[in-house]
Amino acid sequence: MKYLDEYRDPVLARRLLGELAAAATRPWTVMEVCGGQTHTIVRQGIDELLPAGIRMIHGPGCPVCVTPLEMLDRALAIAARPEVTFTSFGDMLRVPGSRTDLLALKARGADVRVVYSPIDAVQLAVANPDRQVVFFAVGFETTAPANAMAVLRAAALGLSNFSILVSHVLVPPAITAILDAPDCQVQGFLAAGHVCAVMGWTEYEPIVARYRVPIVVTGFEPLDLLEGILMTVRQLEHGRAEVENQYVRAVRRSGNTQAQDAIRAVFRITDRSWRGIGTIPASGLTLADEFGDYDAERRFGVGRLTATEHPACIAGEILTGTKVPTECGAYGTLCTPRSPLGAPMVSSEGTCAAFYTAGRRRSA
């Protein structure tokens, strides 16, 4: 397929791997931030082709994985209400809350639907004025503009039966939190190409300056990732620390300013709890005060719901790259995609699920 096959070419992949082997004279540890990138790396087995010493750590960039358990319980509490039509992107449906998941709730009669765009949820609200339609607004800066547009559309239509349950998170504070961790092993980052398509990369420039760590804006195809890793390793080898852009076909420095305007109009920055990591200051988005009427947490009074994680799940260590799934005692036994203990086993972008479906088995 055009614009896809070119980035999966095995001959070019081998050439990039050769250049990487020539460039790397020392061991380096690089983190890909985005779950989509983890998916490609594991599905294509890219990490197993890298020269010895180049280690990839899979970062906290799967939106499904970092959505905190209490937010899932809030979603489940709202979805269980008889007047509610609860809408979500598909892969949130199988994430277990403390007791159940949205698919099981649906089997017991709740009105839970997969939508492909938050605008579809607005349309559902228009078509069903007697139903309370709620959209589960999760994700990074990538999904925030469309979710903002949905709220703006609902406001323009004067809809009183539409709201969103917001669990938006932001990439730069997560990178900073990882770098601030005392046992941080990450020496360079691949920034998420699609997040940067929206936000540009100016917000990464202060991080690079402060921590002296290379950040390369990288795409999602095998050749994108190999080139992004190569650019990061070259910076490390030469002692450089800059923001570079591998994903030139989609990303410019200023990003998509219209999308940023939509985000700023509807959301404000807030502290967010990240599943497995904890609360990171100013790391998420919530609805701005003037759009508070569209806040499902407030509408359904679920803001005080809290939850406790399963003790066997080491999602935090997985998401920060301290451990790989095959080092977890529950991986593949207590915890499988069929019955996941924690979020990284649920979404196909989650590190544990990506390892499991690629057939990686626990060594012990």
Binding site: M1, P63, D91, A107, I314, K323, P340, E349
Partner: protein, 353 residues
């Protein structure tokens, strides 16, 4: 947090639903397999003969073997580019019978119709059943209609049962694949599933793609004529896609399958839809292609025979059978690494981004 010994872990585990049927139990993946092996087959007890799970059963009858299969069709929407529920119901059962090497002889068709269903739509579906049966050269010889109250069915469900016959001793089976076999795929994958999904959800890909629903028994006949007993296993990768079909054969035969990702034909529009929706083409349903496991010595002959048929004109070898990793399908990826291809677990759920 430190790792906890799983043996010490305490309930309540946040496990998935254990008491009710989920949609995923109908996906053709691992949940469907669990339903069969844990609930349905044990309940049948000794009345069910042992053996591998196949697309159709073979019953000895004098000098012949009779092949029997049944399938229910609940597709939504009922009409989609390339076909409709009627054509699907005929071709699906014809193909299940054909995968055991049999010539389909006759079909039974049962309709469960929801109160209020438009007669015009029913006329379209029954005409389509008739046309598909004619095209396949199979007679519809018996059937049934039931009407249920509004809301008790989604418009129309169709069940077809087919019988066929085959000469004794020539039958392909999911349990007959052996190391050295070449894996042949008759046509590109992913068309049916992406067409139905795109039509149902109004995603816009349906302008560029159409379901591949068609009868495959003539193709099977040609393959058996060319390869005879060297055609070890046949399966049409419907629900659960190519990944499920290959994993099931690997499991039933106790062999490993090695695939070459480069060799698997995925139409551009299917690839685009799967990219956007976060689906794996290997998990998407097909209704007009088959995989054949053929002894290496006969593979070229069988492949040439397939390519001479219209429904096999794009046939390609996609991999081979090995003694390593029995029960598992391993794929050589585009960039030259390797990964295990697993069955779908429950429903295919589109990714967020």
């Amino acid at each position: 947090m430190t790792a906890v010994d799983p043996a010490q872990a305490t309930c309540p585990l946040p496990v998935a639903e254990q008491e009710r049927i989920l949609l995923g139990h109908g996906s053709g993946g691992q949940l469907s397999a669990e339903l069969l092996t844990d609930l349905i087959i044990p309940a049948l007890g000794e009345s069910t003969p042992a053996g591998p799970l196949e697309d159709a059963a073979v019953l000895p009858l004098g000098d012949l073997e009779v092949v029997l299969s049944t399938d229910s069709f609940v597709v939504s929407p009922l009409f989609f580019p390339g076909g409709d529920i009627g054509a699907l119901a005929v071709n699906g059962t014809v193909n299940d019978v054909a995968m055991r090497g049999a010539r389909p002889l006759a079909l039974a068709v049962a309709y469960v119709i929801e109160e209020g269903f438009p007669l015009a739509d029913l006329r379209r579906v029954v005409s389509s059943v008739a046309a598909a049966a004619r095209e396949a050269g199979v007679a519809v010889v018996t059937g049934d209609t039931k009407v249920v109250g509004r809301g008790a069915a989604d418009g129309l469900f169709v069940t077809t049962t087919g019988i066929g016959q085959r000469p004794v001793g020539v039958g392909p089976s999911a349990a007959r694949a052996v190391p050295g076999d070449v894996v042949l795929l008759s046509a590109p994958i992913g068309l049916h599933g992406t067409t139905v999904l795109s039509t149902r959800e109004g995603l816009g890909f349906e302008a560029d793609i159409a379901s591949d629903t068609r009868p495959l028994h003539r193709l099977v006949g040609t393959m058996l004529h060319a390869g005879g007993a060297a055609v070890h296993s046949l399966r049409d990768p419907t629900r659960g896609g190519l990944a499920s079909a290959l994993t099931e054969i690997a499991g039933a035969s106790g062999v490993g399958v090695e695939l070459d990702e480069h060799a698997i034909p995925v139409p551009a529009a299917v690839a685009a839809a799967c990219e956007i929706l976060g689906l794996d083409p290997l998990h998407v349903a097909n209704e007009g292609c088959l995989v054949g496991f053929v002894a290496a010595a006969a593979a070229d002959t069988v492949l040439a025979a397939m390519r001479a048929c219209p429904e096999g004109s794009a046939a390609v070898p996609i991999g081979s059978v090995v003694t390593d990793h029995p029960g598992r399908v391993v794929m050589r990826t585009l960039v030259g690494s390797r990964r295990i291809v697993d069955m779908l677990i429950g429903e295919q759920l589109p990714r967020i981004c």
